[in-house]
């Protein structure tokens, strides 16, 4: 029996935590994708379609991005990163109310709802990025990444940023309906400024300083440095991004704690 109040050990608690997260993930997959047509494959087919569409559009439009990089490499790295940090908050904002009844089971906490959605979202964006990357490399549209660990580092920082922002906004949206209203336009407006559609180096120097206050720009530049750093000049500071993520994480956890204590199940 997993729900044994006396004699909680770290192991038994970790076991319950994993059971709950796994149950929530499977439940989310079932409610979102069902058993019809390709089912859970939509998890990464959907972001792949977005990235492919943007790649095609940018190629057709002959988009100018201030370097001689192939547009494909540029779109893949940029748009995949956007999907990663933008979809996580999108899934966590206003996520509690539709799942309220689940909290009749005391092992299911608000944080579990957030975590299960974050894991799914991160998995979808990552699988899509990896599959498209492999395909593009195999058909020689883009070269192999020069430094895989830099790509991984930039990707993880971007995921951390998305996850901490998601928990903060998700918890906040429980207190204020404004958050949901403002997030949609904010996410839309942040996209062109996030570094997905330009290289920081191609901006005027004064503007570079301003744009580098946006944390996700650093993640995107770092991913691009890892992919084709020898052909472009990138501008980023992982420690700045990590600091922002740290602050967001502390705020997010504090907020989540507060609303969890006061939460009233339907």
């Amino acid at each position: 029996m997993s729900d044994q109040p006396s004699g909680f050990t770290f192991r038994s608690s970790a076991r319950i935590q994993c059971d709950v997260l796994w149950a929530l993930i499977l439940r989310e997959i079932m409610t979102r994708y069902g058993r019809h047509n390709i089912g859970f494959l939509w998890l990464f087919v959907e972001p792949m379609m977005f990235t492919l569409g943007v790649t095609a559009l940018w190629t057709l439009a002959g988009m100018h991005h201030g370097s001689d990089l192939p547009i494909t490499a540029f779109a893949l790295t940029g748009y995949s990163a956007v999907l990663l940090w933008r979809n996580m908050p999108g899934r966590c904002v206003a996520a509690i109310a539709p799942n309220s009844v689940l909290m009749y089971h005391r092992n299911v906490k608000i944080m579990d709802i957030f975590l299960s959605r974050l894991l799914l979202e991160a998995a979808g964006a990552t699988i899509s990025f990896v599959i498209l990357g492999i395909i593009f490399i195999m058909i020689e549209w883009i070269p192999l990444p020069e430094d895989v660990f830099k790509v991984l580092g930039g990707w993880l920082l971007t995921a951390w940023f998305g996850a901490s922002l998601a928990i903060l906004l998700g918890a906040w949206s429980e207190v204020s309906e404004m958050v949901e209203k403002i997030w949609h336009p904010a996410a839309y407006l942040l996209f062109p400024m996030s570094g997905a559609a330009f290289m920081v180096d191609s901006l005027p120097p004064e503007f570079q300083k301003v744009i580098l206050w946006l944390p996700m720009v650093h993640g995107t530049e770092m991913i691009r440095d890892g992919f084709f750093g020898s052909r472009v000049t990138t501008h980023y500071d992982p420690s700045f991004m990590a600091l922002v993520c740290m602050i967001l994480t502390v705020l997010a956890l504090a907020f989540e704690r507060k609303i969890s204590r006061e939460y009233v199940v339907e």
Partner: protein, 218 residues
Amino acid sequence: MIVLNDVHKFYPTRSGPVEVLRGVNFTLAPGEKVGILGRNGAGKSTMIRLVSGVEQPSSGLVERSMRVSWPLAFTGAFQGALTGYDNMRFICRIYGVDFSDKVGFIEEFTELGPYLREPVKIYSSGMRARLAFAISMMIEFDCYLIDEVAAVGDARFQTKCHVELFERRGDRALIIVSHDENYIRAHCQRACVLVDGILHHFSDVEQALDFHGSLMTA
């Protein structure tokens, strides 16, 4: 054991915080069966939620040293888009129970047959009640919390529920919230009456029912 020590619960409202429970003390030993009576809005459901751990007290202490169920109500907390089987699997997973052991019981108890593969949203209220009750009996607890078990379903279903809860699990502790005097009389050894957030204890069920009755006519 379940122990509530000086438990207070406030809920925020537009006109300021409302104190729903004002210093509730309560103890439940293993196997004990206790009824909770009170008028609408006296705080009965709030108390059950705090005992189950669904909500946290504003102040005071709630201790559980036995496995306590979620608040059982026949309506059930289902995801309508999921099938009966999927809803069952979810509950099994979060309580770490093997689903395959329970399928037989669920099929036999609910008599839902092929409907278990259909989304719960197409179920009638009687079908939902059968599934909800079967799911709550699927996980074994030391104490079951029963919040307002209204007379749902036909006589056959009621008999089956009776067998599962009071005969097969006759050794478990129960906290029953109900307005039905006969139900409390039949199943409880003692009873408490909640009046405006204060819990009055009675070792004798009849005394509790008399006190409750006098409140209702007052």
